[in-house]
Symmetry: C2
C-alpha cells in the first residue's frame, strides 16, 4: 500500500489579491486538516481572471519566479503543514510573460516550474494577448508523496499533455483551471465536455486526475464570465471519485493507493501495447 | 448543412459463420431502412470471439483480403443499399495473420484496409497469439458520405490512434469491438471505463465516435466471456447521442451535421493550439 490523499480547492476570486491569498491559505489549512497531502488551488487564484479582455495594465500582476511574493508565502504554508502545493502564478521573465505553475514540496522547497503550453484565445478567454506559449515542456516532479504532473487549464483538453506526463511517470495529474460561460455564445455550456475530456485522460492513462476550478461571476469592461466550478477528482477508470457544485466554494478530496494503481496499469497492458512507431502524425499539425 | 446518419449494430455471434453473416446483413438492411448511411458491425462478427483461448485450429478462420468471401457479400450489400460499411475480418497474409478492417464505399468498392495496431493480451483476450501487430498505420478514407477513420477494439483505448485519424481529417471515428467480462477477475466490469475513454476521444477531438460491441455468453475450453454490449455513439462534446443495453441486439443511430462540426472544431481552437514540438515523448515508450 502507498496511499496518498489529494484535494482540489474550489473558490471565488476577487480583485483583492491579499484577500484571495488569505482565503486560499485557509482552504489549504482546511484540506490539510482533512488529511490531504497534495492540495490543488485554481488557476491564477490570487487575482481576477483578467484575460476576459485585452488590457495592458494587467501585465503589472506578473512577478518573476525567483522570490515571487505569493509563492514565498505558500512555501511557508507547505512547510508548516507538510503538504505538497502545485501553485499557479503569473510569471514575468525578462520581456516575456507566462501562465506558470510552481510545485512546492512538503518541506517548502520548490521542485520546479511548468509554463502553460497550450494558450487559448476566444471571446472572454484572451490568453494569447497575455501569455507566451510555454517553453518548459511537460514535467513530472517526485514530491514527498507521489510523482506528479501538472497542466494548466487549456492544457487539460489535450491528450498529448496527459500522456506525456504519464509516460514520464506521473502517478497523479493536476489541472488548475479557470473556465466558465462563453460570453458570446450563451447557449454553450462546456462543463460536461470539459469533465469528459479529462475523465478520458484519467481512464486512458489509468491515472487519477484532479481539477480545481473557480466559481463566481466576474465582469470587466463589458465582458462577463460565470465560472462553473464543478471541480472534481477522477479515478483510474475515469469515473468521478469526488466532485463539487457549480456555485459553492469547497474541497473535493480522494485517497488513492499508488502501488495498487501501478499494478492495475501494468496488468491492463495499455502502456505495454503502445505503438510509438505509428504515432508520427502526432508530432505534426 | 452536410448531414450524415450513422449506425452501430449490436449482435450476438455464434459458431455458425453463415448464420452470423446472414443476420448481420439483415441488421444492415434494417439500419439502412432507418436512414443510416454508414453502418458499423462488431469486431469479427462472422464468428465466435475465438481469442478466448490459444488454439491453432482457429487460424483456419482467416482468409486473404483479396476475394475474401464475406467481404464480397458485404460489397454487394453496400452497393445495393448505397451504404458505407467498415467491416472487421480475420486476414491471412502470407504467413501472417491480422485483425483487419476493410472500408466498403456506397458503390460497393473497397477503399482500403486497416490492420489493428494495438493487440491486447490477457486472460480471455489472447490476441497476441493470433494477430501480428498491424503494419498499416492509422488511416482515413473519403467515403461517399464522410471522411472516416476506424480503429479496432483495443485501439479504442489509445488517444494516439484517435488523434492520428482526426489529424488526417477523419470526421467520424468507428470502433468495432468485442469486449466483456474478465474471466479471472470477476469483480472488474470495464464497461464504464471503456465508454469513458472513447467519450474522451470524441470530446478531445470534437469528432463523433461510433462503437459497436457484441453481446452474449461465449464459452470455449473452460473460458467463458460475457460480452457487455453497450454499443454507443458519442457526439462532438463526448456526450452519448445513442446507446444500447448490455444484453439485447439492436441498432444505435445518430445524425450529425459535418459542416457544423467543422466550424465548431475550428472555433474552439483545440487543433490550432496544439504544440507538436512538445510532443516528442509520445513517439517513445
Amino acid at each position: 500500500m502507498q496511499q496518498v490523499c489529494v484535494a482540489a480547492i474550489q473558490m471565488a476570486c476577487s480583485d483583492d489579491s491579499q484577500d484571495n491569498i488569505q482565503r486560499a491559505m485557509e482552504w489549504v489549512r482546511n484540506a490539510a486538516g482533512q488529511g490531504a497531502q497534495i492540495i490543488l488551488l485554481p488557476e491564477l487564484f490570487s487575482g481576477p481572471y483578467f484575460c476576459k479582455t485585452q488590457q495592458p495594465e494587467y501585465f503589472q500582476l506578473a512577478e518573476p519566479y525567483a522570490g515571487h511574493s505569493m509563492l514565498t508565502r505558500m512555501q511557508s504554508l507547505a512547510s508548516e503543514l507538510q503538504v505538497v502545493l502545485p501553485v499557479s502564478f503569473f510569471e514575468r521573465a525578462g520581456q516575456s510573460y507566462f501562465n506558470s505553475l510552481a510545485v512546492i514540496d512538503a518541506d517548502g522547497g520548490i521542485l520546479g516550474r511548468y509554463r502553460k503550453a497550450h494558450i487559448p484565445d476566444g471571446p472572454g478567454y484572451q490568453e494569447k494577448f497575455y501569455f507566451s506559449p510555454g517553453d518548459s515542456g511537460f514535467q513530472v516532479w517526485r514530491t514527498r508523496y507521489a510523482s506528479i504532473g501538472a497542466g494548466i487549464c487549456w492544457d487539460q483538453w489535450f491528450p498529448e499533455a496527459a500522456r506525456s506526463m504519464c509516460l514520464q511517470g506521473a502517478e497523479l495529474l493536476f489541472y488548475p483551471t479557470a473556465i466558465g460561460s462563453e460570453p458570446e455564445e450563451p447557449d454553450i455550456d462546456s462543463k460536461a465536455h470539459w469533465q469528459t475530456v479529462m475523465q478520458g485522460h484519467a481512464g486512458a492513462n489509468m491515472t487519477p486526475l484532479i481539477a480545481a476550478n473557480r466559481i463566481g461571476r466576474e465582469q470587466d469592461a463589458g465582458v462577463q464570465l460565470n465560472f462553473y466550478g464543478s471541480s472534481f477528482i477522477a479515478g483510474w477508470d475515469g469515473q468521478l471519485t469526488a466532485g463539487l457544485s457549480r456555485d459553492a466554494e469547497g474541497i473535493a478530496i480522494s485517497t488513492f493507493d499508488l502501488a495498487q494503481l501501478r499494478e492495475l496499469r501494468a496488468g491492463w497492458g495499455l502502456f505495454r501495447d503502445r505503438r510509438p512507431e505509428l504515432y508520427q502524425d502526432l508530432i505534426t499539425y
